[in-house]
């Protein structure tokens, strides 16, 4: 079976039509995993018992496959009368799966700030929350920008998992075309190339953002 470029070109509009879904899922999951991850890291740093609980959750989440989360949310939750639309399952699943990794990113980002910063804040009488909000958080952002960018691209590349739970994203659409036409090479190559282009664009965006977040005096 030869590769038919005309057939491949004809797949482009259909697959391109669901790029928005892929981008949407990626952005929402990135935001979701950042919020969950930051929350987990804050919990890990607070009291002793919440710290242990957070540590357990982070390790548990990091040692389960993404697909397990998606299947659990999609196939098991309905047995408890919790039925989420496929898009929501995808976003929640990827957010949970990546939150464990993001928690580690935030941990490293905060640990990289010299101890003297919190001491100075303490000596000025700032509360713990103010110290986090006005002293540590802004400095952490600079430290985490690059690793979060990497995870952003990882999340983008994880979106094809969503094909397995009937989310109409790029790989899913490619499989639809394949099962209609019995031609796999063309739609899959098109989906692959488009995803690659998206990832490259994302990498460029991350680089831009990093430069924007760099220290004003080092810009």
């Amino acid at each position: 079976m030869n590769f038919d470029p005309i057939m491949a070109l004809s797949c482009v509009p259909a697959i391109l039509g669901v790029v928005a879904t892929t981008v949407e899922v990626t952005l929402a999951s990135c935001l979701g995993s950042c919020i969950l991850g930051f929350g987990l890291e804050m919990a890990r740093r607070s009291g002793v018992s919440t710290g242990y609980a957070a540590r357990f959750i982070i390790d548990f989440v990091r040692s389960t496959p993404a697909l397990a989360w998606l299947y659990f949310l999609y196939f098991v939750l309905p047995r408890f009368d919790i039925v989420l639309p496929p898009m929501a399952v995808g976003i929640v699943g990827l957010s949970i799966y990546f939150s464990g990794y993001l928690a580690e990113v935030f941990k490293a980002g905060i640990d990289a700030i010299p101890q003297g910063q919190s001491e100075a804040a303490k000596a000025l009488g700032l509360s713990r929350i103010d110290t986090m909000a006005f002293v540590l958080f802004p400095q952490m952002l600079r430290n985490v920008a690059a690793p979060i960018g990497n995870y952003f691209i990882s999340i983008l590349k994880a979106t094809p998992y969503l094909a397995t739970i009937a989310v109409p994203e790029m790989l899913g659409r490619a499989f639809d075309i394949a099962s209609d036409t019995y031609r796999y090479a063309e739609p899959l190559v098109v989906a692959g190339v488009l995803l690659l282009l998206l990832a490259l664009a994302a990498a460029q965006l991350v680089r831009l953002l990093e430069r924007k977040l760099a220290h004003p005096s080092r810009r």
């Binding site: 010299p114 003297g116 910063q117 100075a120 303490k122 000025l124 700032l126 713990r128 400095q139 005096s217």
Partner: protein, 260 residues
């Protein structure tokens, strides 16, 4: 200039104003390491005390205990009669009674000089932004870095950064200033500009405890010089006695190494 009111600090009975800091039987361990051993020291209001000693002698630890950055296990520290908790206090403490200046400046790199100075004014003292700005500029002017107010710390020299750090602490109008080797991280030519600012402060009557190895500064400013070694206080003497005719052999040994 509108001045923030100095907060009411409860004073102990009988010794109003006279004693700024009273340390009695202070013991501190880091795990099995006995960092401070039965420290007794009192600092009167308006007094300037210089702490010196070899590294690892406990002088920084002592200052950090008074500044509530470190907890301690035994003894008491009273500041204006109020007893400090030996546990490290992580919760909001409100207005600090002591300003702290660190060896590494510890300015907030993401904030401008002005932002560094106004943060605690706004968040701790709840001053409105224009008032905070006014107070900050007043203190930046005093340490002669007012022109740098809009710059970021990384754009300043070490000496300028340390003067900003002093101004930042002064903005809260503390009744005591604690200095932990304020000139040790500076290039030699910048030491003087920082010591000059500290000298001005001392002349203004500020109660000061200063860890430093600058004998010139100690001679000019200190009321008492304290030598610490291995977690103990070895000698407490006025500077003329301390440098010219120390009472302890250990002090003589230390001075021989420092003043060569």
């Amino acid at each position: 200039m509108s001045k923030a009111p100095i907060s009411e600090i409860e004073t102990g009975e009988g010794n109003k104003q006279s004693k700024a800091i009273e340390i009695a039987g202070l013991d501190k361990w880091y795990g099995k390491f006995h960092a401070l051993k039965n420290i007794e020291l009192s600092v009167a209001t308006g007094q300037r005390v210089v702490l010196c000693g070899p590294s690892g002698s406990g002088k920084s630890t002592l200052v950090r205990c008074v500044g509530q950055l470190e907890g301690f296990q035994g003894g008491t520290i009273r500041v204006f009669g109020k007893r400090l908790d030996g546990l490290r206090q992580d919760a909001s403490r409100g207005r600090p009674f002591a300003g702290m200046v660190f060896q590494q400046f510890n300015l907030f790199p993401h904030l401008t000089v002005l932002g560094n100075c106004t943060l605690a004014l706004r968040r701790v003292l709840k001053q409105p932004a224009p008032t905070a700005r006014e107070i900050a500029l007043h203190h930046l002017d005093k340490v002669k870095v007012r022109e740098q107010a809009q710059k970021f710390p990384a754009q300043l020299s070490g000496g300028q950064q340390q003067r900003v750090a002093i101004a930042r602490a002064l903005c809260l109008e503390p009744r005591i200033m604690l200095f932990d080797e304020p000139t040790s991280a500076l290039d030699p030519e910048m030491v003087k500009e920082v010591l000059d600012v500290m000298t001005d402060l001392a002349k203004g009557g500020m109660t000061m405890v200063c860890v430093t190895h600058e004998p010139g500064f100690a001679r000019a400013i200190a009321d008492e010089v304290v030598l610490m070694d291995e977690g103990r206080i070895v000698e407490v003497s006025p500077p003329d006695v301390f440098f010219a005719a120390p009472k302890q052999e250990r002090t003589r040994q230390f001075l021989a190494k420092v003043l060569q």
